[in-house]
Symmetry: C2
């Protein structure tokens, strides 16, 4: 990405951009609660602060970044609307952002996407364009929509204003922790493309310098940890899929990588079994419905992959959109 500076600075992104995003989003999205469970604290041996983004509009944090990017457009671009390709949480986030801002949106989705995901985007008022993933190219379809309708592409993570919007999750954690009189010394963030991780770590490091930063990826899909180790954007060694589908996208984002390289970030992984157990714990102790990818940080914490004893840990339960059949697996008697 040619606009990333040699020192890793990403134009348009930083703590000021996150504060600007917070001003744009206030009153538009949900200020989700920062939850705590004394029994969970006891299990982990630390004070655990859970930012419940599963309670966000659309059931994930994604609407924050999409709405921030949209509201930063000029009047004409906003009127023309926005487009993205995503069958997942980002698609719904873009659809909801467009509804909140009163502009049109097109979501390009594979015709194989679950009916509920198509219906959800349509419910928010977005137009859905379905393509055959065996014969058609989603980027080509998206390019044509941009050209023909003057729409702006809102990418899922590799975009400074999307990253800044996700960073408002970190700002809120900092404010809510201070209201509780607590100073987090460790943060864990679920990571795929890295937009949420880059935003949250930037915001929390600004509020609590010296905080230990961890990203958590699915075991076998640790593209960001590999990217951090090699200094260049890496792809996963296997195709997308698996239980934590929200975290198994093909490649890390160049801009999120450039941001995360500026911090001392440790890469952790969580297995499917660890994540199912963490979803069960969130159900039992937090009364929250957390989707597999959103439970990765809690899974890493509960599996003892990081030493946090006696400290204050912040993590993001980043979404709650999970199929009932998967959720049932997480419930043990």
């Amino acid at each position: 990405m040619s606009d990333i500076h040699a020192d890793g600075a990403v134009p348009g992104f930083g703590i000021d951009a996150i504060h600007e995003a917070a001003r744009r989003l206030t009153g538009q999205v949900v200020r989700t609660p920062l939850l705590n469970s004394p029994m969970l604290d006891d299990l982990v041996g630390a004070r655990v602060l859970v930012k419940a983004e599963c309670l966000q509009l659309t059931g994930s944090f994604k609407v924050r970044g999409a709405l921030n990017a949209l509201l930063a457009l000029d009047e004409g671009a906003r009127r023309a609307g926005i487009v993205t390709y995503s069958a997942g949480n980002h698609g719904q986030g873009v659809a909801a952002a467009a509804r909140l801002a009163g502009c049109p949106a097109v979501i390009v989705m594979p015709s194989t996407a679950p009916r509920i995901k198509v219906d959800n985007c349509r419910w928010w008022g977005a137009e859905t364009v379905l393509y055959d993933p065996r014969t058609e190219d989603r980027e080509e379809i998206t390019r044509r929509i941009r050209e023909e309708r003057g729409m702006t592409l809102i990418p899922p993570f590799d975009h400074p204003r999307v990253m800044a919007g996700q960073g408002t999750v970190g700002l809120e954690i900092a404010e809510q922790a201070r209201q509780l009189g607590l100073t987090p010394d460790t943060v864990l963030v679920n990571c795929s493309g890295g937009g949420l991780a880059a935003g949250v770590i930037t915001a929390l490091d600004d509020a609590f310098p010296g905080l230990a930063h961890h990203i958590v990826e699915p075991a076998g899909f640790d593209k960001m940890a590999r990217s951090l180790a090699t200094g260049r954007v890496c792809a996963n060694p296997r195709p997308p899929g698996g239980l934590m589908d929200a975290l198994s996208g093909p490649a890390a984002g160049a801009r999120p990588l450039a941001v995360l390289r500026q911090y001392d970030v440790t890469g952790l992984t969580a297995t499917d079994q660890e994540v199912l157990a963490a979803m069960g714990t969130a159900h039992r102790l937090l009364k929250l419905v957390v989707e597999p990818g959103a439970a990765a940080s809690l899974a890493a914490l509960l599996s003892g992959k990081v030493d946090v004893r006696g400290g204050v840990v912040a993590l993001v339960a980043s979404g709650g959109n999970v199929d009932p059949s998967v959720y049932r697996e997480a419930l043990t008697d």
Copy 2:
């Protein structure tokens, strides 16, 4: 109950007592969020505000009333501690209240109670006394503990300070609705003994005079509706039990009944099937784990048992302590 005045006034209870409880509880219990889902609003045809008391300490509102009653005791009584008989949410609420106040607690439970409920009370630091429900009388056991140890009984609902503590749920709904710029015109409250219903309706009627009040009971366990109709405390026509176990206790409370009689309260019921469907809706749209009895109000609303179209409805998701086997039944594909 001889201390109830001829006009129905209950000594020690009222809007001032609820404000006093709020001052005692601030910073001690969780100020739970008032959640909203645009998709839920669309289903119901009204703005629906869900007070998420399943996110409260111990997973239900019960700690509020118990802690308010405990903190109102004099120093000596507080040091001696508190006792109650409850295998359910009230037992855990009393145990947690005692821990928060740093005093001893004894929870008298049937030896047939699920292990998890005994363990939870012990986790909070309470002593549990198990009795054989076929041969022993819990009230006799509790009386002996009070005499021998000077402990104070904290009853589950028929107590002015317990009712006032539960009323803080209503105060918070009023404050949070106002922050959203909304004026509820209807409230639905799950009802068993009536402590929560009396507290919440008193607080909300004070904040929003003219509000329509509904209590929701399990079909076949409508003891409070019968009590309101006859003007005297009624028992259920059948023994406690069933899916909504938290709402199926044997009799309505005399003090809650006296309070509710002062308002124009409509009694609604919800069936097991309606409640399971409502739990599934809370899972899907709110990402909240709601226990059967706590989903009764949402069930009544979703089943169209009250005309709320175009209005603003407040309800309490009063708890989230549910067995995994029951929860699985609520999840449909």
